[in-house]
C-alpha cells in the first residue's frame, strides 16, 4: 500500500482530480469534504501528507491548518495548501490570528494556487514525501 494522502476539499471535481493524480502515482488517497471531516480523518488515519483547500463549509482550511500544526500528534504531517485563495492572504490571516493570541504556526510545506496541473501536483507531492 502506498503512502496515505488526505485530500480535504469541498469541490467534488477537485477531489476527483486529486484522487486520480494520487492513485496514478501510487499513493493511497483519503478524502474529506470539509475542515471538520478532515480533522477527524487526520486524527484517525495519521496520513503521510495532507492536501488542503482553504474556503470550505463547516471549517476553513485556515483553521484546520492551525489545528494540525499545533497538535503534538499531527504537526509533523506535511501540508500542501491547494486553493484559489492567494498564498499572501493565507499567510496574512495566520499572522493576524497569531496576533490575536493564537499560537504561531510555520508556513506550509508547499502552497499551490488553483488551478494546478497534474504534473505540478505530482511533482510537489513527490518532493515532499517521496
Amino acid at each position: 500500500m502506498g503512502k496515505k494522502v488526505l485530500v480535504v476539499d469541498d469541490d467534488p471535481d477537485v477531489r476527483l482530480f486529486n484522487v486520480t493524480v494520487l492513485e496514478e502515482n501510487g499513493y493511497t488517497p483519503l478524502v474529506a469534504t470539509n475542515g471538520e471531516e478532515g480533522k477527524n480523518l487526520a486524527k484517525h488515519e495519521k496520513p503521510d501528507l495532507v492536501i488542503l483547500d482553504v474556503l470550505m463549509p463547516r471549517e476553513s482550511g485556515i483553521r484546520l491548518y492551525r489545528e494540525l500544526k499545533t497538535d503534538k500528534n499531527l504537526k509533523h504531517i506535511p501540508i500542501i495548501m491547494l486553493s484559489g485563495i492567494a498564498e499572501k492572504s493565507f499567510l496574512r490571516s495566520q499572522k493576524v490570528l497569531a496576533e490575536f493570541g493564537d499560537a504561531p504556526v510555520p508556513e506550509p510545506e508547499a502552497y499551490l494556487e488553483k488551478p494546478v496541473d497534474a504534473e505540478e501536483l505530482a511533482a510537489t507531492i513527490k518532493k515532499i514525501i517521496g
Binding site: 470550505m56 463549509p57 463547516r58 476553513s60 485556515i62 485563495i85 492572504s89 490571516s93
Partner: protein, 291 residues
C-alpha cells in the same frame, strides 16, 4: 442568541461586499464566522426544452460565484475572520435552510426579494417562506446604493417595533446580546385607531398603559447598559413603523415575525413581511421559536 456565525445569502445583484462590510460591526458583539451562500436556482440552468439542464451554464454560474467569494474571503481571512462558502444548484429557500442547519448559523442575511407583486402573489415571497421554515433570525438587507441612509453601522440605532407577541419578546433577548454595538434602541408600539374609542380620558388611559409596557421593555435594555426610549404611535402599523424609524433616525427596524400561516400571509399580507419587502430600512425579523 449571540451572533457568532452569519449566513450571507447573495444573488450578487442584490447584496455586495459593501453590505457585508457594514455587518462586520457585529464582530464587537461576538461575530467570528461568515458563511457565503450562493444558490443557483434551477430555472437559471434549465434547458429551454425538455427536462435537462445545462452543465455549461452551471459551471459558468458556479465559477462566477466562486471568483467573487474568493475575493471576499481573502479580505475577511486577512481580518482574522473564519469564512466558509456554499455554491449549490437548487431551490433558494430550501438550500438556505439546509446550509443554515449544517452551519448552525445564528443569523441569516438576505437581500430584498426582487419579485414583482403579481409574481409574489402566485409564487410567494422567498422571505415569507424562509421565515415560515426557519426559527433563525432573518435580516433583510437593502441595496446600499438606493438607500439614503448611512449604513456603516446598521446596528447602532435599531427601532424595535413590538406587538407583545412571543416573537417580538424574543427580539428583545436577541438585541440584548448586541449591547456592545447598539448605542440606542427606540421601542415602538403602534396602536390601532379603532382601539382608541371613548372619552379623552379613556384614550389617554390606553396610551398610559401601553407606555408603561414599553417602559418595562426599555428598563430591560437599560439594565444591560443599552440606552432605550419608548414611543407610542397611532395608525396603520406599516406606515407608522416606517415613520417612527425616520423620526428616530433609526438604522434598522427589528420585529418579531408573524406566526400566520403561509397562505394567509401570501393573500392578506403581514406587517413584518411588508416592511421587510418595502421599507427603505434594513429589517431584522425574529421568528417565533418553532416547536
Amino acid at each position: 442568541m449571540k451572533i457568532k456565525k452569519l449566513l450571507f445569502v447573495t444573488k450578487f445583484e442584490e447584496l455586495g461586499f459593501d453590505a457585508l462590510q457594514s455587518l462586520l460591526s457585529l464582530r464587537e458583539a461576538g461575530l467570528e464566522h461568515v458563511v457565503f451562500v450562493n444558490i443557483i436556482e434551477r430555472e437559471r440552468v434549465a434547458m429551454r426544452r425538455g427536462t435537462g439542464y445545462s452543465k455549461e451554464a452551471e459551471i459558468r454560474l458556479r465559477e462566477t460565484a466562486n471568483i467573487r467569494f474568493i475575493d471576499w474571503a481573502e479580505n475577511l481571512f486577512e481580518q482574522g475572520m473564519e469564512v466558509g462558502a456554499y455554491i449549490v444548484v437548487g431551490n433558494l429557500v430550501g438550500e438556505v435552510i439546509k446550509a443554515a442547519q449544517k452551519e448552525e448559523a445564528d443569523l441569516i442575511v438576505v437581500g430584498r426579494s426582487q419579485k414583482g407583486v403579481i409574481e409574489q402573489l402566485y409564487a410567494g415571497s422567498d422571505i415569507t417562506e424562509l421565515l415560515h421554515r426557519t426559527s433563525k433570525p432573518v435580516l433583510v438587507y437593502k441595496y446600499l446604493s438606493e438607500s439614503s441612509f448611512a449604513l456603516e453601522k446598521p446596528f447602532e440605532s435599531p427601532l424595535l417595533a413590538t406587538d407583545w407577541s412571543p416573537a417580538s419578546l424574543r427580539a428583545i433577548d436577541f438585541l440584548k446580546e448586541l449591547k456592545g454595538i447598539i448605542q440606542k434602541i427606540h421601542v415602538v408600539h403602534v396602536v390601532d385607531q379603532k382601539q382608541l374609542s371613548g372619552s379623552a380620558m379613556a384614550i389617554q388611559k390606553t396610551r398610559k398603559k401601553i407606555r408603561a409596557k414599553l417602559d418595562e421593555i426599555c428598563q430591560t435594555f437599560e439594565a444591560e447598559g443599552i440606552s432605550a426610549s419608548p414611543h407610542v404611535y397611532v395608525g396603520d402599523p406599516e406606515q407608522e413603523i416606517e415613520k417612527a424609524a425616520r423620526e428616530c433616525q433609526a438604522t434598522l427596524i427589528v420585529m418579531g415575525s408573524s406566526g400566520k400561516a403561509n397562505w394567509v400571509e401570501r393573500w392578506l399580507g403581514s406587517t413584518p413581511r411588508n416592511i421587510a419587502e418595502k421599507s427603505d430600512f434594513p429589517t431584522l425579523l425574529i421568528p417565533p421559536i418553532k416547536l
